[in-house]
Structure formats: structure tokens, C-alpha cells
């Protein structure tokens, strides 16, 4: 569905992306996980032709990005990190504009717009100017807009950043629903729970390089599914175990009190980079 080979982007001397190779399968929800400045948005911008790669190639749906730009634009849906709706238009007009630009005929456009406004629960705000919407509503409208022309692959750049937990869950449900309908989704996030909750496979990005790629379960298993944590002299000590019993055994052998928990993608990230995804 999506194939990146040696994808590189430099801004002057700064390397935002240092030769990424990955492929996303048809129907998959694929996550790009990484801290601020890891290169997630850069990747999405390259994939959507808003930015030119310094080196490397991208193929989407068997089409090469450098040759078939126009056809690719017709099969991708994009929800950027920043809100970029037209604030002077109503919700319905924003969708209408998108539908017209994608040459959806008037009849289908109308039914599709109503259907999608229903889907993102904005039907009652249809004729309101977007300026008056909350962040969560804008984000949902952007998702509706990205889906209007029935794309084959959806790019979501930090779809839930800055939203309250309830709206975040709601967006997760939307993504699951879309994935159930067979849509391929590439999403970026710096929320561990989001990657674990939604993604079949996750690529961990740090400083422009891919440092791990697998299913969240497999990544945790690679480390050991159980973690024992205990207070050390200076910092928290951790040790990973493949089985709970081994972890418990180790716990008992310690002189200080220790806790056992399941490992998560955060642990994977910390182990690989020595840093946390979100600095606390």
C-alpha cells in the first residue's frame, strides 16, 4: 500500500529524516511514534507532497510519488497536525469545497457530506461557521473532510493532540471503525496509549531515524513482558522478565520493596534511547 525507501529530508544542515525504510500493508493501522521533533510531521508532509524529499522514494498504491502526484492526491486523505479548516466557511461549506475540488458530483457530494457529518457527530452544527467550533469539533470535521473523497489511505498527524480524554476516545473509535471498513491508516502520535490502543504495527522514530518496527506486543515481548521496578540510590531501577513468575521471584530476592507491572512501548522507547517519549 505504502512503501518508503531511504526517505531523507534535510533542512539546511539539519537532518529531519535520515533514510527511513518502511512499508505499510493494505488495511493496516500503522503508527509512527516518537517524541517532539522526531520527524513525524516531516514524514507526513513528504507523503502528501507538501514537501520534497532530499533523497529516497515513496510509492503509494503502486504509484510513484514523483511521477503520479495527481493520481496519488485522489487516493489519500490527510488530517494535518495543525487545524487548517477554512474559518470563514461553515462546516458544510468546508466539506462542499473539498468535494468540489475532488470532483465528486453534486448528488453524491450531498449524501456523502450528510453521512460524514453524522459519522463525526456534527450534523447539528452543519451550518455554523467553523470559527465558532471547539478544537475537538474542528479535528472531527477535518477527519470528515479527509474521508469525503473515499481515500484508500488516511494520514492522521497527531489526531488527538490537545484534546480531552473523552474526545480522544471518540476519535479512537472513529479510527477503529474506519479500519474495520478496510481503510489503511497511517497515524503519528507521541502518546504511548494511543499507539498501543490503535496500531497493529508501530515504528518508533527518534531524531529522524527508525529505531524499532513491530507490533506493540512484539516490541514489548522483545524486552520482556514484565518489569520489576524498585528505587535505587539515584534513580528508578528496572529489569525485564519474560514471565511473571520469574519477575516475582526476582522481586522477593530484593531487599527493598519493588513493583511488578507489564511492560509498554514507553519502556521500549526508554530502553532504546535512554530517554522518555514525553519528558515529565
Amino acid at each position: 500500500m505504502l512503501e518508503l525507501v531511504g526517505l531523507t529530508k534535510k533542512y539546511g544542515d539539519r537532518t529531519a529524516l535520515a533514510g527511513i525504510n518502511l512499508s505499510v500493508n493494505n488495511g493496516e493501522v500503522f503508527g509512527l511514534l516518537g517524541p517532539n521533533g522526531a520527524g513525524k510531521t516531516t514524514t507526513i508532509r513528504l507523503l502528501t507532497m507538501l514537501s520534497q524529499p532530499t533523497a529516497g522514494s515513496i510509492a503509494i498504491n503502486g504509484l510513484s510519488l514523483s511521477h503520479d502526484g495527481r493520481q496519488i492526491k485522489a487516493v489519500i486523505g490527510v488530517v494535518p497536525q495543525h487545524l487548517n479548516l477554512d474559518n470563514e466557511l461553515t462546516a458544510q461549506e468546508n466539506l462542499e469545497l473539498h468535494g468540489r475540488l475532488h470532483e465528486i458530483n453534486a448528488l453524491e457530494r450531498k449524501t456523502r457530506i450528510d453521512e460524514l457529518l453524522e459519522f463525526v457527530e456534527l450534523s447539528d452544527r452543519k451550518n455554523d461557521i467553523v470559527q465558532t467550533f471547539s478544537g475537538g469539533m474542528k479535528r472531527r470535521l477535518m477527519i470528515a473532510r479527509a474521508l469525503l473523497h473515499r481515500p484508500k489511505i488516511l494520514f492522521l498527524d497527531e489526531p488527538t493532540v490537545g484534546l480531552d480524554p473523552q474526545v480522544r476516545r471518540r476519535i479512537w473509535e472513529l479510527v477503529r471503525h474506519l479500519s474495520g471498513e478496510g481503510l489503511t491508516v497511517l497515524l503519528t502520535t507521541h502518546y504511548i496509549e494511543e499507539a498501543e490502543a490503535l496500531c497493529q504495527r508501530v515504528a518508533i522514530l527518534d531524531k529522524g531515524s527508525l529505531i524499532a518496527l513491530d507490533s506493540p506486543q512484539a516490541l514489548c515481548r522483545g524486552l520482556g513482558e514484565y518489569v520489576v521496578e524498585w528505587e535505587g540510590e539515584e534513580h528508578l531501577n528496572t529489569r525485564f522478565f519474560p514471565e511473571r513468575s520469574k519477575a516475582a521471584q526476582f522481586c522477593n530476592s530484593l531487599a527493598v520493596t519493588a513493583t511488578i507491572r507489564r511492560s509498554n512501548l514507553e519502556d521500549v522507547f526508554v530502553e532504546l534511547t535512554g530517554r522518555k517519549v514525553v519528558e515529565r
Binding site: K73, L97, R100
Partner: protein
């Protein structure tokens, strides 16, 4: 392609339609002031070899007003949509070509320019002007609107801040609005200044509007100059749109 041009235009039209009354009221202010100050006030003491000073400056006022309106219609809004609101991305992400966007936007700018010109013409007649409106006059007006809408778009695509945009206004548009045959014939100026002014588009818009409305003659040369400006600006705009990727 036509349908995309229509779509780009349609977006600007519905935004304008929503505040059309307010828009029209606001467009009345400066023409009335110009007509009072230069037509009634100043004009009464100016004697012309042919016709009245009012008849002389009305084409100039139409030219400078449609220049300002058309430039402003695209300049700041498109600049903001590129740098700040990022709504330009919606067009960059859509499977449309750059030409459709540029032409649709320029036509939307022309629409605003024409609306405000109709308002001036209405008041000019009210103030007793005697201009004749014919096809050449309308063509010249359309061309002037299109040239400056295109200039606004090009400036919006090249300038990297709001401040640069307003500097462009101060250093380019304001001098033109006073010097380019709007209120007086530039041939009265020193030669070097005259020749600079003689190649500027607004000068030819004033010439063309004045010539066609006062004498009914075909302002051939001026229309050609405007056409050259328009096609160059459209070409630059399309090229820049195609290269907007970072």
C-alpha cells in the same frame, strides 16, 4: 479544469455574499471622499482644455481604486492562508492544477474590483461626470482588476510575513496610486520619472480608461501593455504555486 476554476471562485463568492451589504457600504467611503476632495473641492479651480477636471479624474479614481481593491482582495488573505491559517494546503492537497487555483482566485479578485468600480461610476454620475461607458472601457477595467489581483496573489505567494506584505503596499501601490496618471498627466513630471511611470501598469489602466471613456477611441497600446503584465503575473503565480513545497 473549468470546474476547478469555478470552485476556487465559488469559495470567495460565498464568503463575500455573506457580508455583501457591509462590503458595498464600506466600498462607498473612499470614492465619495475622492469625488468630494478632487472633484468638487480642488476641481472647481482647475480649468482643463477639454471637459471638466471631474471627467478627467474619474477614470483615474476608478483605476487606482480597483487596483487597491483587487490587490487587497488576494494579497493579505492568500498570504495569511499560506503562512498562518494554512488553508492553502487544502488546494495543494487536492488533485487540481496550479493554473485553476490562480485563475479562480484572480477572477474572485476581479469580482470585487468590478463591484467597487460600479459604485464609483454610480457616484461619479451623481456628481455630474460625463463619461461614456463602452466595451473598451469595460475591457480596460477588467484588465486592470486582473493585473492587480494577480499581483496581489504573486506578492502573497512570495512574501514571508504580514509586514513584508504591508511594505509592498507602502512602497509599490501607494506611490503608483498617486503618480500613475490618476490625478494628473505624468508628462508634466521630470523626464526620468516620466519614463518610469510610463512603464507601470496603473498608468496604462488610467490612460485606457480615460481614452475610452472621454473619446470613445480604442486604447490599443495600453491594453497590450496590461495584457503583457497580466500574462507574466499569471505565469509567475502558477510557477510559484507549483513550487510551494518546502
Amino acid at each position: 479544469m473549468i470546474s476547478h476554476i469555478v470552485t476556487v471562485f465559488w469559495r470567495d463568492w460565498i464568503v463575500l455574499k455573506r457580508r455583501l451589504t457591509r462590503y458595498i457600504l464600506a466600498r462607498m467611503v473612499s470614492p465619495i471622499l475622492y469625488l468630494i476632495a478632487f472633484g468638487w473641492g480642488l476641481g472647481r479651480n482647475i480649468t482643463m482644455t477639454t471637459g471638466s477636471y471631474l471627467d478627467y479624474i474619474v477614470p483615474g479614481i476608478i483605476a487606482l481604486n480597483s487596483m487597491n481593491i483587487c490587490f487587497a482582495a488576494l494579497g493579505t488573505p492568500v498570504n495569511m492562508s499560506r503562512l498562518y491559517h494554512k488553508t492553502l494546503e487544502e488546494y495543494l492537497l487536492a488533485p487540481i492544477n496550479a493554473f485553476s487555483y490562480v485563475v479562480g482566485k484572480v477572477l474572485a479578485g476581479v469580482m470585487r474590483g468590478l463591484i467597487s468600480s460600479v459604485i464609483i461610476i454610480f457616484f461619479a454620475y451623481l456628481f455630474g461626470a460625463q463619461l461614456k461607458i463602452n466595451a473598451w472601457f469595460l475591457l480596460a477595467l477588467f484588465m486592470n482588476c486582473a493585473v492587480f489581483a494577480a499581483l496581489g496573489l504573486v506578492a502573497a505567494l512570495f512574501m514571508n510575513s504580514h509586514e513584508e506584505m504591508s511594505n509592498f503596499n507602502t512602497y509599490v501601490l501607494t506611490p503608483m496610486s498617486f503618480l500613475c496618471a490618476t490625478f494628473f498627466a505624468p508628462s508634466q513630471l521630470p523626464a526620468f520619472l516620466y519614463w518610469i511611470i510610463e512603464i507601470l501598469p496603473l498608468t496604462h489602466a488610467s490612460y485606457a480608461l480615460r481614452q475610452s471613456s472621454l473619446t470613445g477611441e480604442i486604447p490599443g497600446l495600453s491594453l497590450i501593455v496590461l495584457a503583457v503584465y497580466l500574462s507574466s503575473l499569471l505565469w509567475i503565480g502558477v510557477r510559484k504555486m507549483q513550487q510551494l513545497q518546502d
